[in-house]
Amino acid sequence: MADQSDRSVKPGGDISPEERAEFKRRLSELDDRLDEAQERGTGVKNEAGRGKAMGYGLRIATDIIAAVVVGGGIGWFLDRWLDSGPLLLMVFIVLGIVAGIRNVIRTYRLMAAEFGTNTGMDLDDISTPERNGDDPN
């Protein structure tokens, strides 16, 4: 915004530096007030945020269930193929639960990046392996 106000003042050229400074100050003040008013929410921005939040909620709920189902499915097929009883089914259900939680943490990170970390809990305290290196997702 600052450079924009610069541009809009310069071409005139016939106002004193004091006037220009005053003009800039008023412009930035107006800008701040506008930001503030928008933040307080004229409804539009808030509604969009709520919609996005609901979108995240819907994603998290199914992501964790689907991972368990997929894990169980893989285990069941491997069991049938290798004739290994319920062993692999059990192992892969557990792995599915882990993958589901992994999905949720991943979605949470996207959420935290979008809404800021003001979401009630701080996953940054939990050290997961990929935090140290590149996140593979």
């Binding site: 919609g51 994603r59 689907a66 991972a67 892969f92 993958a99 392996p129 290196g133 590149d134």
Partner: protein
């Protein structure tokens, strides 16, 4: 379609109409191609209707192409901007190549969901085979894009870095399961939400009939509010479907975050 009316099936006020009847597939034009049942069903009809109404909407609204848009043109422009911003934010400018696909997917799911909100209509997205087909297109397409872009290097996507070698096999399996979860969660989310919502509406519609003129007002009031929620869900589900497609595309194109 009038025979989908719930009243036809609830005999009198004592028995409930079947809330699942609305999801039944009816063969409108029986057709068999090489032993495969390719009948033109009510589901197919509503998919065609969704495609036609979408095309008509976009063609009509953009035919004027005035500098100062009218109502219809604004609506089309808002839809375009909405999806374009979604792709740009989640995939970056490199993803704009895939904008037509994401836009088509979003508007088709949205049109199917919204058409389903019209009484007596059929909700295409309440069938898992439809949503799974859509999700499978996304899943297979994104995987192909990933391999086309990175070659076998795309397999590194499943290998988290900075992990002790002993844990690596376990984590790779978990990453693969997490990746395979995508089409399942994508399709189940859309299908389950649409089916559950429409079943709820029918069940409460049955309550209104059962309780009659004296007690039927309470479930009727609930239905009005719930219909509003269902419209919101119809939009949100299309939005979630599209945004997840964007996120998966971003993963395939850039691999890192």
């Amino acid at each position: 379609m009038a025979n989908q009316n719930a009243g036809d099936h609830g005999a009198g006020t004592s028995s409930m109409p079947d809330p699942m009847h609305q999801f039944e597939i009816q063969r409108w034009l029986p057709l068999e191609v090489f032993g495969i049942d390719a009948s033109f069903t009510n589901s197919a009809a509503f998919m065609v209707l969704a495609a036609i109404s979408l095309s008509a909407f976009l063609l009509l609204s953009t035919s004027g192409r005035s500098l100062v848009p009218g109502r219809l043109q604004s609506l089309a422009e808002i839809t375009y901007e909405f999806v374009a911003n979604m792709v740009r934010e989640n995939v970056g400018t490199a993803g704009m190549k895939y904008f037509p696909f994401v836009f088509t997917l979003f508007s088709f799911v949205l049109a199917c969901n919204m058409l389903g909100m019209i009484p007596y209509s059929f909700t295409v997205t309440s069938h898992i085979i439809v949503t799974f087909a859509l999700a499978a297109i996304v899943f297979v397409g994104v995987t192909i894009i990933g391999f086309a872009k990175h070659g076998l290097g795309f397999l590194k996507f499943f290998v988290p870095s900075g992990v002790p070698a002993a844990l690596l096999p376990l984590l790779v399996v978990i990453e693969v399961i997490s990746y395979l979860t995508r089409p399942v969660s994508l399709s189940v989310r859309l299908f389950a939400n649409m089916m559950a919502g429409h079943t709820m509406l029918k069940v409460f519609g049955g309550f209104v009939v059962m309780l009659g003129a004296w007690g039927g007002w309470a479930p009727l009031g609930f239905m009005v509010a719930f219909t509003g929620l269902e419209v919101l869900v119809a939009f949100l589900q299309a939005y979630v479907f599209a945004i997840l497609t964007c996120i998966y595309l971003n993963d395939a194109l850039h691999m890192h975050h």
